[in-house]
Amino acid sequence: MRRTVAILLLIIVAVGISRSLAKIPFGAAKTKVGSHYINEGVKETGSANIVTSVVVSYRGFDTLGEVTVLFIAAIGLGAVLTNTTKKEARKIEPASLILYTGCRLLFPLILVFGSYIFVHGHLTPGGGFQGGAIIASGFLLIYLGCRERRISRVASNVAESLGGLVFVLIGLLGLVFGGYFLLNFLPKGTANTLFSAGIVPIIYIAIGFKVGSELAGIIDNLIEET
């Protein structure tokens, strides 16, 4: 009986969704804002990557909210998992030589790659969130391969706080110079060069540091507990 009802409900939902989706023309421009971003985005923000110009410049305030959500999630996880009582140092079985050497060789390369992604966020695909996630996966590799090494909690907290602070301060500076939050007050330069797009690369570097240290902190909290 329950199963029949569940299948019936599922069919009703599927028919409803497909009927409403069928009315929307696929690939056709429905609003003017999308074509405005594509045609004028490079000129208005100076950022060659249009996705970055939308994420950091046009919708910068939403990105601040997104970063805040991640921050609160990391804080909550830390509050639940961190135990302040000092555990005696457990004997950790070392990883095999091949894994240890491989992760020591790969870790700096992953860090450089992640930094490249968020520094060049306004030129090539990628940005703060992607670069930060890549850096965090490098720290995951360190936790799996070189298990006696720990990242410093203080350093990761400082990087995280500085990232958030730089983002908010730059937004407030826009308020000072031009009258609205996150105004792009720096010179835009020529598109497709590293020093272009004003505040966009600075904000993306701050987001990269923040996301990288937050995700690495989440992994640190989880592994420390097991």
């Binding site: 990628g126 940005g127 996630a133 890549i134 965090a136 995951l140 989440i218 992994i219 989880l222």
Partner: protein, 79 residues
């Protein structure tokens, strides 16, 4: 192109079904990571490299790692 995409979609659906069917939870997590990985390839083929990067690093790597860490603390096999 359409052949490659349909092959990838079939693989993705197989992974999704496998993730829900497997009794061994570690295998289920690996199958779910496979779904994320193929989704990121599809994003790349559909010319959304920004989303593809986020999906590959977060969906395939970090989420799977966090699930496996969680499984280590609980039971490995579903009853």
């Amino acid at each position: 192109m359409i052949f490659v995409v349909s092959l990838l979609v079939v693989l993705m659906l197989t992974g999704a079904v496998a993730a829900s069917v497997f009794r061994d939870l570690i295998s289920a997590v690996i199958a779910a990571a496979l779904v994320s990985l193929i989704a990121s390839i599809l994003f790349f083929l559909l010319q959304a490299p920004d989303v593809a990067m986020a999906e590959a690093s977060i969906g395939a790597a970090l989420t799977a790692a966090i699930f496996i860490i969680a499984i280590r603390r609980t039971k490995r096999y579903e009853e």
